[in-house]
Symmetry: D2
Subunit: 299 residues, 4 copies
């Protein structure tokens, strides 16, 4: 089918390659014209504007939005809502907060535009070669876009999840689990690193990737990482985060679900952003106050 | 080659099947004669005693011990040490504490018996069809037994890890990671279970098993579990543990490594063993003391 | 001075006693007429309605609102805002969310009504005999109400904290710390309870209340609780919560502050509300899947 | 009474002052002669050796040992056990591991020497002016030394806790709670530090020390610390630990008690010893692997 793709960053660009590989026609647009030009050389149709992109599509139009979560999505959707018509379809494939997706679905729904929140997992390689998609929105209209997901996903790699918001919600929780798994893997290797034995991290990640209970794509990626930098000497342990882990914890708080591992995975990421902590200063000062224990002075 | 297997429980039994499938001769023994008889029907040689088992082997004899961790291992090793001779080899494939393995290696080494601690992962299916093995012990002697592991493991699924203890140490940390991963998965599904959306847990586990960042054997097993009992209504959330997670945390404490996720995974297992907690009583009583907040009375 | 008090629950009632003891005139009102009648017998002036209460006060009127946090506060404030005039003062002494307090201050400020958010700590006994108050709002107007706090608080027990919201914010964080302290105390006694020694919990709490590093009002209250029920056999360890701990964690997430102890204190409270957990079921099911480990069946 | 004190560090020195103030005769000894000379100027009897110290005492001799926990204690006890006789008493007032105390009690008991493990809390000021003592050992013999504790402790500030080990065990758990309380306080102030409001930390600690639910000696010490260095700019947040918190967690693991807050307080101390973490590197590398997320390079 013919589809528009707005946003040609790491994920959007690779999704377009995937769609082209699967014989879809893709009209592409990005605020930066460069990736559109590149994709034009690989079979996509580059549109210089969102209006031009919409103009290239036939009704019911299908536009996939793959831009950074937050107000940028709202901006793109506002623009699209003026260009699209009743029965047209927008797919937000980014990492939007599910409450935003519910709101956007309602807003667009008032104009008859069908909105799908499609959580996308699998990283850049998944986007290009077959990923995992969790899609919320109108069930009947899903039939229209299901062929796209059948092609973009690996086998059994897409799921219609229910009403609007349910796709991004599921992706949010997926990322919460991902945080926990990554932290668990990291902690395990830190124990190995400090142990009295002299393990080859890459070899460990390889053997754990083959036949073990913890074999997983993340473990394979761990092996990849160690194959390039055996002790990760070149990078710092600064763990950024982009929202979904935090939202999972916030949701758990609202639902009164005890999620200590996901919560701690997030809190250790925050801790990693600091060179020193105020709570540490307070505790150190207290030890000095009651016990006369030495403190480490600032330089 | 020809090998003895002592201990024919869930893991030992399946390892024997695996060895037989790979054309090894296996002399088997267990305190319970039944599994030995069964395996005899599948090509193994059943020995009625450890002495008979040892008697069936040629030097250098190789005996794999697959019995429950703890004093039972010591008992079996003491018996073997009187029957075996210099140059013979014992493999402990169970979940022994690595410090015990170091001690046992030293004790047996005084008699010239070579001891290997082989951490085994992959569950029962891995034991039968190809698992993951992490083996510590004498490097030169490892060549003698390497063919066994080449056959028992999936491709790239075994690793010589270094001196005695390093195999079980690596398996210990593997299980620590496993605890963290399982708790992360569990927490994620608990959020889904309590969410306003109506997810099909099996379908979620399936889509997450295909193409997602968190695809893993554990997620496939999660799918299996939900396929049998869609909401796990039939079981209670009692999370037993068998030592390795605790040992990982103890090791982390000794190394002063901060492992919050592995530690919390363990502590939540302990919490799951209780119907009520004393700390909860204290907190509830305190809230009543200062704020007059109602407490829940015992029946 | 003369002051109105709306809300005569556990805290409001005791604050009125405290004010009366300090020679203030207090006009009281509550949706339930009973406590007002009681207080009238102790020197307060019972008003049958908020309008009557306001009518009894001279300008600038000072009304203390001590009702449950949430929409009830909004309802009371809306009623008051129609009755009060420019220059009048409202104090919210409850546990309101600080963002609500900022919003309410702005709304009332448009009518010239001065709003103070007064975090109140010390429990019922503190309310009656001298508590701790953290007050945010207009600095100049604070001088008008400072005499109240000087009388209600213990020595050095009140603080003007800055602009609107800062009082309830400080109370929120106070309660976050309180959650952590209480959980720490509870955990300690749980270790003692399960230890091989046979401690007398009340005696322990008493000795820790006298001269130790952890001496604190909470430890004294722990002693009180054990003096009434030596092993807390009569109550269940269900740990309710009323918002401030959750808000502290939410705030920490927004500020990207790592607060593992406060977060876990909250999550263990949520855990205590459950007889069983879904995460536990998932983990138990997984252990069964890969290792054949027995599960505990539901009855 | 007359008593020997071996070990004149921060705690021992102040205990001697306290004993002298209470009209006891104290024979003192330390590997460093300086504090003994100082104390001699204040009424103590300085002994140049342990033998001389023992020689100054009458039977039943009472010797208080106040040296760093670990092998130094064993060394001192071995020396004493050759000098003391049946019926003599040794008090270990340090932070020894309770299992060591049980062992030492048994060893000394074989010679008829009575050993008491006396957990000491209250810091240096408590040692001098009135502290908190938790004493395990022989119940009958305790009567002999009880007058010492009556004088050294604040009112209700000592407790005979039961058999050998129970005193140091209780002190261990006390310190576990202390870790949790300190971390909770630290986290609260870190939230304040990063909040949008501009709190005066010292003023906050002062108001929380007066009338609040969290009033405590630790909060008073927090106030002291901020009074000297308002934002703790002069020190780093490096949180050392000296064993008891770790032992509490180890004990909790052995008892299968879920103690998340005490455990996390300890793990955050370990985290504070690091400038960077290996687990952080692994997580950062993984985010880069699957999502192309930027990493922070090592300088």
């Amino acid at each position: 089918m013919k589809i528009g793709m707005i946003g040609l960053g790491k994920m959007g660009y690779n999704l377009v390659l995937n769609l082209l590989e699967n014989q879809h026609e893709v009209v592409v647009n990005d605020v930066n014209p460069e990736p559109g030009r590149e994709l034009a050389g690989k079979g996509a149709i580059a549109a210089e504007s969102v209006a031009e992109l919409v103009g290239q599509l036939a009704k019911p139009r299908v536009v996939w939005v793959m831009v950074p979560a937050g107000p940028i999505v709202d901006g793109v959707l506002e623009g699209l809502s003026e260009l699209l018509e009743e029965g047209d379809i927008i797919i937000d494939g980014g990492n939007s907060q599910y409450k935003d997706s519910i709101r956007r679905s309602e807003t667009l729904g008032r104009k008859g535009i069908l909105f799908f929140d499609a959580g996308t997992s699998g990283g850049m390689s998944g986007a290009q070669n077959g990923g995992c998609f969790m899609i919320g929105g109108d069930k009947d209209a899903f039939a229209t876009i299901e062929p796209l997901f059948r092609d973009l996903a690996v086998e059994n790699g897409y799921l219609y999840t229910g009403p609007s918001g349910s796709g991004h919600y599921l992706k949010m929780v997926h990322n919460g689990i991902e945080y926990g798994m990554m932290q668990a893997i990291g902690e395990g290797f830190e124990v190995l690193e400090k142990s009295a034995f002299d393990y080859d991290h890459e070899a460990v990640a390889r053997v754990w990737s083959n036949g073990s209970v913890i074999r997983s794509w993340l473990m394979e990626l761990t092996q990849n990482a160690f194959s390039k930098d055996p002790n990760l000497d070149e990078i710092r342990g600064v763990m950024q985060s982009s929202g979904e882990g935090k939202w999972t914890v916030q949701e758990a708080l609202d639902l009164e679900v005890s999620t200590p591992v996901i919560a701690l995975s997030l809190l250790m990421r925050y801790r990693s952003l600091e060179n020193d902590t105020f709570h540490g200063k307070v505790v150190a000062a207290l030890r000095n106050e009651f016990g006369g224990h030495a403190v480490v002075k600032e330089d």
